[in-house]
Symmetry: D2
Amino acid sequence: MKALVYHGPGKKAWEEKPKPTINKTTDAVVKILKTTICGTDLHIMKGDVPAVTDGRIIGHEGVGIIEEVGNAVSNFKKGEHVLISCITSCGKCEYCKKGMYSHCEDGGWILGNLIDGTQAEYVRIPHADNSLYPIPTGADEEALVMLSDILPTGFECGVLNGQVKPGDTIAIVGAGPVGLAALLTSQFYTPAEIIVIDMDDNRLNVAKTFGASQIINSSDGKAVEKIMKLTNNKGVDVAIEAVGIETTFEICSEIVGAGGHVANIGVHGKSVTLHMETLWSKNITITTRLVDTVTTPMLFKTVQSNKIQPKQLITHHFKLEDIVKAYDTFGNAAKEKALKVILTNE
Amino acid sequence: MKALVYHGPGKKAWEEKPKPTINKTTDAVVKILKTTICGTDLHIMKGDVPAVTDGRIIGHEGVGIIEEVGNAVSNFKKGEHVLISCITSCGKCEYCKKGMYSHCEDGGWILGNLIDGTQAEYVRIPHADNSLYPIPTGADEEALVMLSDILPTGFECGVLNGQVKPGDTIAIVGAGPVGLAALLTSQFYTPAEIIVIDMDDNRLNVAKTFGASQIINSSDGKAVEKIMKLTNNKGVDVAIEAVGIETTFEICSEIVGAGGHVANIGVHGKSVTLHMETLWSKNITITTRLVDTVTTPMLFKTVQSNKIQPKQLITHHFKLEDIVKAYDTFGNAAKEKALKVILTNE
Amino acid sequence: MKALVYHGPGKKAWEEKPKPTINKTTDAVVKILKTTICGTDLHIMKGDVPAVTDGRIIGHEGVGIIEEVGNAVSNFKKGEHVLISCITSCGKCEYCKKGMYSHCEDGGWILGNLIDGTQAEYVRIPHADNSLYPIPTGADEEALVMLSDILPTGFECGVLNGQVKPGDTIAIVGAGPVGLAALLTSQFYTPAEIIVIDMDDNRLNVAKTFGASQIINSSDGKAVEKIMKLTNNKGVDVAIEAVGIETTFEICSEIVGAGGHVANIGVHGKSVTLHMETLWSKNITITTRLVDTVTTPMLFKTVQSNKIQPKQLITHHFKLEDIVKAYDTFGNAAKEKALKVILTNE
Amino acid sequence: MKALVYHGPGKKAWEEKPKPTINKTTDAVVKILKTTICGTDLHIMKGDVPAVTDGRIIGHEGVGIIEEVGNAVSNFKKGEHVLISCITSCGKCEYCKKGMYSHCEDGGWILGNLIDGTQAEYVRIPHADNSLYPIPTGADEEALVMLSDILPTGFECGVLNGQVKPGDTIAIVGAGPVGLAALLTSQFYTPAEIIVIDMDDNRLNVAKTFGASQIINSSDGKAVEKIMKLTNNKGVDVAIEAVGIETTFEICSEIVGAGGHVANIGVHGKSVTLHMETLWSKNITITTRLVDTVTTPMLFKTVQSNKIQPKQLITHHFKLEDIVKAYDTFGNAAKEKALKVILTNE
């Protein structure tokens, strides 16, 4: 089969690899129908994720068709359409039992990281019963690709951890795909005001069409000042960090009001300064989370009942075999006005 | 009347002051029976709390007898014994309605700070109906002084915010009065293991008698290593910070396990480093809080039913008029083996 | 002034009464601008509420202008526009401190019940600081009348107690004003399916326009069967009872799925049968509640930010002086297709 | 092997049966070390549980040694000591993922019910990875038998569902084994008062030694009156029903205070009357639950750390081969002063 293979920092190729097979009785092999590229994949390609080694097939999102299942798999059989979760869950360790699939003792984020991933014609999925979700006939499979990672990430790490409530004033710092996923899913809880902050006017305009009530370009360094003014100096109820750097984390911790929440989604490479000298008495809550995808069934229902249109996040389409071109587009997101790209295995 | 008055950094005096009177219809004047000294009072005396100005009567804890009430006060009348909360609550602002009395728009921590406090023969208590609690006949009033501040602080900021659960492994970093208050109240929720960390062996021994299952002297810089070993490298479910400096905050953030809680109690004077490069994916929750004293009624019931003995925190007794001597003792806590002192107005 | 006065079962009159005055320092007198009639008022008029005695002015909803305040009132002053809550809250008893204003020891539902109410030119509001809410300039005051009782009732007793979540399948049994209020506010939490059951096709059609995804006329006795079919025999996540009789309560307890919630809103006059022989093992939760109006500030924000249009509930308008005619219309709700009527004091 | 076999109402025998074998790759066969008899087993023997048919081996509790595992079992291997949960959980259906193992689509309560159970020398356990728990070396295995069913039942259905909090006043109606399990585990949350109600003085005395602060013999029909007096007519915060008949359910619904919880544990054979005419406005919560055993790991930790002594529930010991005699003793619990019996396979 053909697959996108990582060959060390800056090197990747669409090349021939052996088709995966069942290793354990709990595995499934899935033929990929549609997949996408994640910001994390860009980091991997740069060499920022040392766990990913030469020869690895990248990718942790997608929908496909069951090609084969191990004999302990009971939820799926050959020919069924499935959503692949970015998180592999064994369903039987301490963490899985608590719904913390991200920390599964025999899973977690391993696809396209510790084992071969989904940017390929076929992929082996360990613990298939707990790591795949059935796709009902007639569902929009392209939209569902957004449920592999980006929507549960925005929802669980940003919205649920932030405890967004009806009537809240919330701020989302960062209007990339994950920030926009938080923007879409935050509306499940009907906040009164959603302020989106970014440095890219195009993304801010997208945020506006996705439901932001206020947009702020933070290039001038006055985002905090503007938000405090908008909130009568009370600050926001929930500040969602969707970038992963100190500057944006600090914006969040400066705009959060007494009793409020800072929900971190961003992947951080460095430490940040936490101003405990002001925060210690503000009754705030700061959360971190690697997506557990424990809400995938809930998100499925909201998509099936048309309460959310994840397709809004898709800006570009490619054939799977043109994935290297797709990386170029996605890697120049600002210039290309790219959010999520869809790669179709035809 | 006589009162302890702050006269700028390093200067205090037990001196004559006018007896307080009713300013507003919601005020009460309380004759102090017993009061105590808080670590915060030591900071004030050093000049660390600029809001406290020359001439201020210090103190925010105590029990007393109602001397006089304003005509809008309905819960109390002259002669009744009352517990004074360190937090003044109007009961009718946005924050009070949410149980966040610490951020009351016409209250919060004002006693012995923005208005005259309890280290005096009499004190005026604004919003008396919501800021005082009735003491039933026969109650141990000395023990109840611990409910003005120290017990709700340890309980709300440490135990409740930390979400201590039965079977948990928790760590309390700092075995001063507030850490010990967290230790006592954490046992309401029956954690399996309570590890207490401090640099003072005497306090650690006290912690042992108060219910710690493990004590660790962190002087050798190996506390993190030891705790990770004790927990099979899983880390603790809840880490309670009860000091207020970067070193102890970092211990907490290093020992907290995946899915765990860091509950900050300590008053911080400086920022701390937050290692988001490791924490971002650990599904942790960090909380801060200025005590709200919203749990005072709950704590009252646990004291009345003998489920907790707050008296264990009391190490020294003085006459109120000897308060300057009491400050000396409390200011040399390690040497004097002092936790909380009781000052009695005889 | 003029007021609607109850004179025993079946007898009421729009007649002259003394204008109310300040009795306690915490009172306010409010000039009524707009009020409405509640289903409970109809019960009172029939003599079903024995606590209401001859001579009582009826009504517990409305908006108005502060005419006068007692000297302990600090949140309001003469001339300000206010929303009147149907629940009076002292803000300082055990129940108010827990947010259970409905059980306030010096309040609760007393307006138009134990004390004179709002169907009058003026009304005295005890504990004004905690029982009134400021109306910002420019707000739609007619819409806000729905926040006195009907919206918080549907929201707190039905939606919040039912713990409606994104993706849920919920059923609302009863499409009268309170059931419709639950329907409107349930959408704050984005359920996937909302099934509304009633015996009146007109109300069901209204429910459809208000966001119901399925409507079922239960006249044929087959509602349970139909709902079980719609839910693949799993039952619903949340069943909201908005009528108050055994038949509708039983529908709820038969359609609730394993792990689900039955949230009772209806005022019941008789006991019901609870089928514990089937329910004991179904992991369900049944709740009851007299509205606390603790969510009024939250609801205010959702109205101000246009997330909900409470005005949809208003079908008829009258002058306050024509209130007897308004009672006729509201008393023949089915025939008149009446939901809520607005009475304006001009 | 030998096993206790049900042969229709009133008929049982300790007789030869084939030793169980692995049917599915997820099965384990466990050699029983210790088991016990449940009140439910008595109902089965009377013929009250029609799903149990002639030839069935009874029993759903016990500890044992792994004899053999299917090739998809990864958590256990031959020779390891395990606790058997009364609830079988597949770990991969909708309900298991929500922690509602009791409603597992391929499990739930099936042991000694729909499939052969634990009152035998060997038992086959489906979905072994999720339905067994490892026993650490040195643990008191007899005590752990109480974790198969009785302790999680009392804890989950009574204490957790009842939301017992520090300082609460709670009542437990029924002092049989499950009521006593609720009594023991309620103390994890430090209620201020625990009132236990029963008609058997011996059991009430046991309750006293287990931590009840008040005991009430309800034979005189005055239990409600006495509890209302004890609580100054406020009622209790939590009423736990541990019998399963209308009389005891009604006691619970009459003594629950405003804002309180009724947590049902009892298995009901008939409907009960629910007094909605008084309860509708009392802001109460009624819960039902078939034990999920989702808290078994938590309970394990509390036992291992000596926070609870489940052995207190054990009153009698027998050899497994003398199980018929053990049934006689347990079936005359009042006369024999029996709580739980231990059967040892020697």
